[in-house]
Symmetry: D2
Subunit: 260 residues, 4 copies
């Protein structure tokens, strides 16, 4: 078989090197968040970038045992005691476009919007970004597409995590086109009389875009964050609860009893 090429880790000189840095040097001088940034972006973060990524990962780690990811992990932990990795993996498998996954689509939308704004001549940037966001909204409405990153089943105001992330981004001078685009979308909707505030997926997408991450990171950083929560949910299930304790109540509405 041909070798698999990679630009992430080398072990050729007897040292484990991550993106060129000796892992032992990283262990001494970098935080785990630095390592996560380095693995994705190929360089270590600035102090501001680290602070922002710390906030993002902390904000997505866990928002309740009832979320599909946490509940699936607990069900697996309840039935399959022998493999902790299986339980965490089951939790991850509940993450997709509907749960924790809109960030990726949202980053693609931002990238599209920013590319359009950049290709337009002579327009001042902030105006342009809001205008492009408004146009994206109009096009999505015309095409019947749902706009990712906005709105919430329950809350009508901005997720407090969105506010914190944007505040840190501004304080660290890291708020860029991503934040501008998402706030442009939100304003355009408000002008139509609709209250669809930026949700955590939209905030995560804006921040990761401004930190220079690729769209897949919109899902992958949520996954990295959520695994911290899943690890705690699974540990609690093992330490506090009995196996097979969970019973889901089911109501049957299919064929009545019959014979072959």
């Amino acid at each position: 078989m041909d070798s698999w090429r990679t630009a992430i880790v080398s072990t050729g000189d007897g040292n484990i090197r991550v993106r060129g840095y000796n892992v032992t040097e990283l262990m001494t001088r970098a935080t785990f968040t630095d390592t996560i940034f380095l693995l994705q972006r190929g360089r270590l973060p600035s102090a501001g970038e680290r602070k922002l990524l710390d906030a993002l990962l902390t904000g997505c780690a866990d928002h309740g045992s009832g979320a599909p990811s946490c509940a699936a992990a607990r069900l697996a932990a309840s039935g399959n005691r022998a493999s902790l990795s299986a339980a965490v993996a089951a939790g991850l498998l509940a993450i997709g476009d509907e749960h924790g996954g809109a960030g990726e689509q949202c980053m693609e939308m931002i990238a599209r919007g920013v590319a359009k704004a950049k290709s337009e001549p002579a327009s001042s940037e902030p105006t342009s970004m809001a205008a492009v966001a408004a146009r994206e909204l109009a096009e999505s409405k015309a095409a019947g597409r749902k706009v990712p990153g906005l709105g919430h089943r329950v809350h009508k105001t901005r997720d407090p995590r969105t506010n914190i992330l944007f505040a840190i981004a501004r304080a660290e001078s890291l708020a860029g086109d991503g934040v501008a685009f998402m706030e442009g979308l939100e304003s355009a909707l408000e002008q139509e009389g609709k209250t669809l505030p930026i949700n955590i997926d939209g905030a995560l997408a804006a921040i990761l875009y401004d930190l220079g991450f690729e769209p897949p990171a919109g899902k992958l950083m949520f996954i990295v964050a959520r695994v911290a929560g899943l690890a705690a949910e699974v540990a609690e299930e093992h330490v506090r609860e009995k196996p097979m304790r969970i019973r889901i109540p089911v109501e049957y509405d299919g064929e009545p009893p019959r014979e072959i």
Copy 2:
């Protein structure tokens, strides 16, 4: 890299061959159950063996949406609409020693018991197997080990699926040491005044042992069967239900609100 060796499938002569048979010939002349048997055992089954394996796989395919495997698959399907394989896999990950997994341990116990019985001189076999089962029980009790394959949280009588499997095995002259050992265990318990009938894991283990399968098949055949059910559960979730419909109710009993 060195090649990976395998004795399962070859494609060298331009044909896909499963255990030596051309897959197109199998498609014409074999059932899916024949193929499952062939993949595990390296030969095609007799008509009786096919009937018995059909009964076993049908009996384990699904016993209700509330089982951890089915519920985990539905939770994943609810949150992650984009990947059907992820939802089925999440269901599988709930299968382990506690749910659908006792069959493997039970097959190891039977193999141990049968090996002991065979190594004893001059004893007639049926007697010996019951005696060895009784001894296994005594040893397990002394060591504080739980005996797999017996008892049920709810039912006090034999699982009706156990009776059907054993009846087919007898009708097809395929009931051997596995069935004898498990019935020996059950009898030994009854003589102690305990009602711990052979459950579906124990029946599956006895039957697979008598069909010549290796212990890992005690879990793997449950998995093969259950995937048929999971595929239906996931399809129903996609076709009938909305994404993110599932909310698990959670009660918090941890630290009260506090400040850093």
Copy 3:
């Protein structure tokens, strides 16, 4: 929590009933393939339908240990000996649009095409289906879309499994719009001088469509079939091989050694 509704399995009267049938009656009288059909379609198959589904499942069970699904399962089995379900699940997770997943897209395309053909007035059906297939091809070409279910990286002739499946479908009078549509596509391409024969995904889609399955079954039936193969691959890894035997050769082409 509200109950989860389901039309698949009931246990209300003390019996496990699958789509209304007592599981013990199914165990006595149905094959595993019957059960798979029943779970998906809500009724038992005819003899011809059973034969066709048996051929399809047998044909997709395994086509070599080097496929991503089989290789991922073996890697997991090599590193994580404690959980057989984890290894099978890892194999499933390699199944998606690129591997074993085109069947679903292909079924959606057939459904779209058939709906169009039906909505056209007064045309004889076989002609119409070929015409609609040709039009679908033209539209896909114009839109730059890849047409699923056709072509193969290596083979330039029809997959022999396609021929067998279509032959059985015809012999059992079960070849319908699905087969006609896919053959229409293939012919339309040939008239353009292109040799893109119907591959196994396309054949599976045509057959499942003609058996009345929903599009998700295009992936789910491949999954059900493939788990039979994965169970054998994982069993072989456990029984014949040592843990952690697999080494993938890696070549690093990233940043040279550097200091923080």
Copy 4:
């Protein structure tokens, strides 16, 4: 259904609270590593504990694309482009007792050893811990058990990551019974003329034990760390590589061609 109880996250007062702290306050003032510690231990770490956990998580994030976890994730990413969470999960499923999993067993061994040492009267602790380690070694040898956390397939000297972790633990006054026990084991082996240095699993176990984590954390913290690496491996596969590019070479050594 009964509610599921949890002591991890509450949302009752409209705020997401993790172990009692408002998530927005954590986002402003805690690092991701603080959050990981908080989720597992129920309190925020000291500066020294944070530094030690950062080093541990950084040290386990990735040690090469050829490891079973990374390779399984890449195989899944290659075949199943549609679900990033499925690819990361496939990688996790390769983690078990053989790969990244010895930490849990090792923590259980340390806990057993420490409990014994504590129950012995009037012995000075450092001596006692080395003595108990030596006795554990003797008992394991007698019982034919492998001792977890020691030795490496290739390296004969201590993993450099072990040295760094123990040095940080000492500098931060956090090296306790865990480190003492593992070093006691290593010394006892050296006195027998065997060079089996503490490997990364053993170092991780010693450190987590001294940080007050429960044994399951021996696997779970490796999982949390490794997901950072898997996220980078999967992103690289998506961004740099074509789908279905991976071919594993297979050599068949089974039944020769035969007919039914």
